[in-house]
Symmetry: C2
Subunit: 139 residues, 2 copies
C-alpha cells in the first residue's frame, strides 16, 4: 500500500481516518466499481455499516469517487481518475464495462468516447456508457 490514500484525503481537505484509508485502498486494489454492499463485505469487521454510507457520501461530495451506472439497481462507485492527475480538467465522460459472467464492472479508460450527435436543441454535458458483455478474462 502506498501513501496514495493519505495524499488523496489531504488534497481534499478531509481528515485522515482509518475507515477512509481502508475504503480508498479497497477501490485502488480492486480497480472495479464497488457498491456499498461490496465494501461492507470486505470491511464490516472493521467499520460500521453507517460509517461506510457516510464515507461514500463524503467521497462523492468531494468528487473523489463517481457513480457508475448499473442496471442491477444497486448504486456502484469508482475512483475518479482525474484525481490522480492534478489540474486536469474534470472530464465527466465514462465508459464502463460490466461482465455478465464474473459480474465485475470496470472503467475502461483506453476508449475514446464516441461522439454522439443529439437532436438539435439538446446540449450534452456528461456522457455515460455502460457496455455489457463478456470481459477478456471470462472469454
Amino acid at each position: 500500500m502506498s501513501e496514495k490514500p493519505t495524499h488523496l484525503l489531504k488534497e481534499n481537505n478531509l481528515r485522515v481516518t482509518d475507515c477512509r484509508i481502508d475504503v480508498l485502498n479497497t477501490f485502488i486494489s480492486r480497480q472495479v466499481a464497488l457498491s456499498h454492499a461490496d465494501l461492507e463485505e470486505v470491511l464490516k469487521e472493521n467499520f460500521d455499516r453507517v460509517t461506510l454510507y457516510r464515507t461514500l457520501k463524503t467521497f462523492l461530495d468531494k468528487d473523489l469517487i463517481h457513480k457508475v451506472l448499473d442496471d442491477s439497481g444497486a448504486a456502484k462507485f469508482a475512483l475518479c481518475s482525474h484525481q490522480h492527475e492534478e489540474h486536469e480538467q474534470h472530464d465527466h465522460n465514462h465508459v464502463h464495462f460490466k461482465c455478465e459472467v464474473c459480474g465485475l464492472t470496470n472503467c475502461i479508460e483506453e476508449i475514446s468516447l464516441p461522439n454522439i450527435a443529439l437532436p438539435k436543441g439538446y446540449k450534452s454535458k456528461e456522457v455515460n456508457v455502460l457496455v455489457q458483455g463478456i470481459c477478456n478474462k471470462c472469454a
Copy 2:
C-alpha cells in the same frame, strides 16, 4: 386514449386489468422514463404500491418495458419501442437523455448508436448510453 394498452397486453398473453392499462397509458402519455415512485405518485389513489411493483416486474419479464440507467439511484423504466413494430429483432441498445433542468429522461430513438471499440478480448452484448445535459424544451 387509444386501444394500444389492451393490444399490447393481449399480444403478450397478459390479462387485461385496470392497473396494467393505467400503467401503460402513463408510460405512453408521458413519453419519459418513469420510476416506481413516479408511477406511485400518479396512481396511488387507484392501486396498491405492491401491485405497481408487480406490474413493473411483469412488464420487465415480458420485455414490454426496459430498465433505463440513471445515476440517481432509483431504477427507471421506459416502454420498449420494438413492441410497436412486430418481428423486429430485439435491439438492446439504448440512448437516453436526462435533462438536468426538468429532470426528465427520455429515450432518443433517432440516434445511431456509436460504435465503441473495446480492448481486445472483450465481447459486447448490450450498450446503454446515458447523456445528461439540457433538453430542447429547457434550453
